[in-house]
């Protein structure tokens, strides 16, 4: 088994200032100021606790080779954004992290993924328990349509047979998802009575209720208006204090706003992974440069 703390040269977790919507670039700038040719790396080698370590990950859908030899690490309490054109393997990548990829008929994978140093496919790892620790939020809000707001939040607790004070957990999760004030007086209303942005935050609350420490977000704001999007992004800034987040996004500015590090995927390959600041100001790979400047096709 891997040790939890490794000596690596990726970005250390960075605490950021609070801000109502997006935070100014300066906070991140100070953390990852490109003083040298290697802006992604700090001057000194630091001990960073890696939450997720992906090693030589390959994934297939029958004959389609969806991920090719992807290796990267995500330090604890940081946000990793995955960018890349459609079909580049972004979603497959995050779906491997909570073992959802293997649920697709004909899907295969090789390589290793470690969460907290522990191999996801090690003997004794229960995928259901894993998905409790590694939560996921999808592109379209998918609350249970027949359940109330309250029952949606605690659905995971009931399904997993998790005890405790469900009311307290529901309130805490809704507060964490920045939805509490908007729904506290109508917890028994149908989840479908909420707006799209509220439904998405409800889904985040539902994911948080089971106490995950990793949150995977697959284009969580792509179906939302700019205000709802800003709320989700603000939420990501808040949540990263307790969680490690991997977010797939087609919105490059969103990646630039929320992520500590950014990984660019193209045709199943990880082309470049570095501090977000570096990827958007001075990428090293021509293909990354072309993608972030809009020179594709």
């Amino acid at each position: 088994m891997m040790t939890e703390t490794k000596f690596v040269t990726t970005m250390p977790p960075v605490r950021r200032a609070q801000h109502t919507t997006h935070e100014p670039a300066t906070a991140r700038t100070q953390a990852a100021l490109p003083e040298t040719e290697e802006p992604a790396l700090p001057a000194t080698v630091q001990a960073v606790q890696q939450k997720i370590e992906v090693q030589k990950l390959q994934a297939w859908f029958r004959n389609v080779h969806a991920l090719r030899d992807v290796s990267l690490s995500v330090p604890k309490n940081t946000v990793l954004a995955i960018i890349g054109p459609s079909g580049c393997g972004k979603s497959t990548f995050v779906r491997c992290i909570n073992r959802m990829h293997e649920l697709v008929p004909g899907a295969r994978q090789s390589g290793r993924i470690l969460v907290d140093g522990k191999d996801l496919h090690a003997r004794g790892v229960d995928p259901v328990d894993l998905r409790r620790r590694v939560g996921m939020v999808f592109q379209r809000p998918n609350p249970f349509p027949t359940l109330s707001i309250y029952d949606n939040v605690i659905a995971g607790l009931k399904l997993n047979g998790i005890g405790g004070n469900h009311q307290e957990i529901a309130e805490r999760s809704l507060r964490q998802a920045a939805l509490w004030d908007e729904v506290k007086d109508r917890l028994q209303s149908s989840a479908l009575s909420l707006s799209g942005g509220q439904q998405q935050r409800l889904c985040i609350a539902r994911a948080l209720a089971v106490g995950p420490d990793v949150l995977l977000m697959d284009e969580p704001a792509s179906a939302l208006d700019p205000i709802a999007t800003a709320k989700i992004e603000e939420l990501i800034h808040e949540l990263r204090q307790h969680l490690t987040i991997v977010i797939v996004t087609h919105n490059l500015q969103q990646a630039a706003r929320v992520a500590d590090s950014t990984a660019f995927f193209y045709m199943g390959e990880l082309i470049e992974h570095g501090a977000t600041e570096q990827i958007f100001t001075n990428p090293r790979e021509p293909r990354t440069e072309d993608y972030v400047t809009g020179k594709f096709g």
Partner: protein, 230 residues
């Protein structure tokens, strides 16, 4: 390090960036000819030409504001990244230097008008040489920008040492003239100012070249000592 020459998927963005580049080059060309005319007005004692230089600066100022607006618009509407971002932020910075170079050329022209009121002082050969070096440096910095060529930019930066050395020689030469005869003081002081303006103008060309290196390579070469990089 990447500086892609590939076209944007949205061609209209290319057109906007090309337009910005063209405006900067026009501005660069204008300040270059301002320097040449300012120095010519001094050497040939042509006050009319000096007045033209002063008049031409209004257009330079107008273009500075216009280029600023273009950059702000592109930043707001296009949200540029990577080399596009570096190009636009570089444009925002070098436009200030170019405008300042124009101002210094105007200062040279003003000194020429002043000097033309008195009989000429003994010819100061190094002044012409200094003017030529400074013009060469401005042209080299602008060329490095046009070609997005970091090597050319580095050469332009190196040339600044020659300018500085020549300026100090000239300073001592003019000081000698003042010590020789106190009647020279007023004119020699004016020429010292001219030399200082030219030397300063070359410094702005150095700034432009430094920004070109940043634009091309993404590395900031400014103030290595202050930043503990040297």
């Amino acid at each position: 390090m990447v500086f892609s020459k590939k076209q944007h998927t949205d061609k209209s963005f290319d057109a906007e960036l090309d337009g910005l580049r063209a405006r900067l080059l026009t501005l660069g060309g204008k300040v270059e000819s301002e320097i040449a005319a300012g120095v010519k007005a001094l050497i040939e004692r042509d006050s009319k030409l000096a007045e033209d230089v002063i008049g031409a600066d209004r257009e330079v100022n107008r273009m500075e504001v216009e280029i600023d607006e273009t950059c702000r618009r592109l930043l707001a509407l296009r949200q540029p990244a990577a080399s596009d971002l570096r190009f636009i932020t570089t444009a925002l910075k070098i436009v200030v230097d170019l405008e300042r170079i124009g101002d210094l050329a105007v200062n040279v022209a003003e000194r020429a008008i002043d000097l033309n009121q008195s009989p000429p002082l003994r010819p100061v050969h190094d002044l012409l040489k200094l003017a030529e070096l400074c013009q060469k440096q401005v042209r080299a910095a602008l060329d490095s920008f046009v070609d997005a060529d970091a090597v050319k930019a580095e050469l332009a930066i190196k040339d600044d040492a020659l300018v500085d050395a020549l300026y100090h020689t000239l300073f001592n030469e003019l000081l000698g003239l003042m010590l020789e005869d106190s009647k020279n003081i007023r004119r020699a002081t004016s020429l010292m100012f001219v030399a200082k303006h030219l030397e300063r103008l070359a410094d702005h060309a150095t700034n432009v070249a430094e920004m070109v290196i940043f634009m091309v390579k993404g590395t900031d070469v400014r103030h290595p000592h202050s930043r503990g990089l040297a």
